[in-house]
Amino acid sequence: MRVVIADDSPLLREGVAHVLAENGMEVVAQVGNPEALLRAVVELKPDLAVIDVRMPPTQTDEGARAAVEIRARDPEVALLLLSQVVEAQYALTLLSDHPHGFGYLLKDRVLAIDDFIQSVQRVAAGGTAIDPDVVSQLLGRRREHDPLDELTVREREILGLMAEGRSNRGICQQLFLSPKTVESHVHNIFGKLGITAAADDHRRVLAVLTYLRA
């Protein structure tokens, strides 16, 4: 898998490159600003771009804007946005525009290497990775007459994993459950919340997140 990394902090860029390389990925370019990123994507045609949301010159959302541009020009390139802060609103805006091959994670996730690599692979394969912090913001939000109260502890756990973008198989591995059990949990959750089951995993993520945000 060929990866381009864009982050204006060389130290961190180097660290992430290292982690990816150690896990058998080929880091074809490391860049420090949006222009260089766009150029690298055009020239090198990577499978995945790992992008820091904040980059020069204004250090606000240059990275995210570059991601939108890459998606418009070259929809085959999967995008993984890393950020110092993750916000549900932001995640949903970006996700509803790019439901395919998209990830949005806190930078810290790099430290949990196995999980991080899994997310990278999932995104590169066209799946979704939404930061657990975004999901817990949404799940942890208190509502009056909360339908989430109807869910069992296990079901809440599975709902969270779905919202992060994990497939049923991923959930099985994570929780050491059989595929059948997971499927029946998912069925129950959708029934209790009144969400229509979606055809593929990334549409399912969007449906779940939208439900949670509402």
Binding site: L12, G15, V19, A88, Q89, Y90, K107, D108, I113, Q137
Partner: protein, 581 residues
Amino acid sequence: MIRLLAVVLGGVAVVLGVAAYRVQVNNLTPHSWAAAQVVVGWAFVTAGLVAWLRRPANHLGPLMLAAGVAYLARQLRYGEDALLFTVFFLLGDLCYALVAHSILAYPSGRVEGRWPRRLVVAGYATVIGFPLAILLLHGSQLSLTSLVGPQRSLLFVADDAHAVTVLQKAQTAIFYGVLTSLFIALIVLRLVRATPRARRMLAPLLLAAVALALRAAFECFRTFVDHQPLAYPYLFWWQVAAFIALPLALLAGMLRARLARVGVGELVVALDRAPATPQTLQDALARTLADPSLELYFWLPESGDFVDAAGAVASLPSDDAGRAVTMLEQDGEPVAAIVYDPSLLEEPELVESAGAAARLALENARLHAQTRAQLRQVRESRHRIASAADDERRRIERNLHDGAQNRLLALALELSAAQRRLGDEADPEVDRLLAASVEELQSTVEELRTLARGLYPTVLTEYGLAAALEALTHRSPVPVQLDVYSERLPAQVEATAYFVASEALSNIIKHANATRGSIAASHEGGWLVIEIVDDGRGGARAGGGSGLQGIADRVEALGGRFGIDSGPDGTRIGAEIPCAS
């Protein structure tokens, strides 16, 4: 001296009036007409006397007086006595020139401008020159003034009846046609160009003047176009009415100045009663001087600036700005400046007496203005401080993310790389230490993130208040209903509203013991209105270094309002923040 002269001239006018009346009645003029002419003359004489006595330095009084005397004397030409006829035929028309002169000289007594002066000179030349030429050529025994009996000129040198007729028509054409038209044009021009206050003051007199001038112009029409003998009575009363209106308008002007001086007295009383703030003082002076455009500027000795009634630093209008300025001083130091309509310059003593009456109050008002100016400065600096604090928070937040957090994360990555490199060969103690360090770093990054969010949430900068409040309520353990407008407002306004909500919410979470809350923010009429309500046990108050006090200060620094209503049934915290800054 003037009084004596006035009494004498008044007596002359009475005698002249009586004589004029008798001459006319003898000529079979109706009594009412004769009496009306005398009333016109006396009206001018009276107005002239009053004006002269009140303002001896102003030529207007003597001018009006002369016009009245001439008007009365003019009637003496309608007799058969050769001397009276000759003298008053020669001088009788002077009264018209004098009336026109008076009007053009109103109110200063001087005729200002090249064209008005030329007109006055031409008027005198016409009313003297033509009668003189006519008298020289009037040899017949016929009447020159449409009377029955013969009138003989004592200045007769050659007889040319045709030339007399031509001269009479020429006088009419020039005086009632050309000069009168010019007169009307000048009056209208003056009305148009006058400042609003001057226009109000001049209007009655000048309108009467125009009415009279139109009557005069009609004389031209009667002579050359259509004689219309039937219209004569109407024209006569039109003339009388306009002639009487003129001195009345003048008297009214004088009386108004007197009333204004009474107003100064009232000003003193009013200022004594009401608190003399800069604004009330300015209003009172504007009322007294009948000039709504009047402005007061107060001198601040410390800063060496003038400030207006609202306390804003202002500079006095320049000389060519069409405004008049009077400095009020105390012990040689300026206290204030009155800026007013230049038409008031014609009544300088009025401005001065009003200024003098207001002097005590002015000193008070100046202190007020000074306080206001200081208050305004303090407000502006509070605003600047709040905004500088915001910028600083944002800068620190950015530096935390892009500096410390990134470095710590990179460090953690390196340590965990080292840990993996060592793999199973590592000393278990080293392995544990490395793992613990990575964990420690990770939680440090987490803490920094929370700290940065409290300083200035990224989402507020990038997505605005609605998104930031949504993120805020996501983290709240108490369910919070959110109802927020969606458009973006200036950063400082959004930040202030955010911190109001954030502080109120943390109050709800920490102290209120509430089961639910709500945040509503709307944007209407240039104000952001935000209200945070909970159903807790109350007890929230601003004061003592509480967070709410800091928030209240912040809102007020932007010129907004902040309020807390807290009772056993819950707390309601509201702020209104102006959006323009």
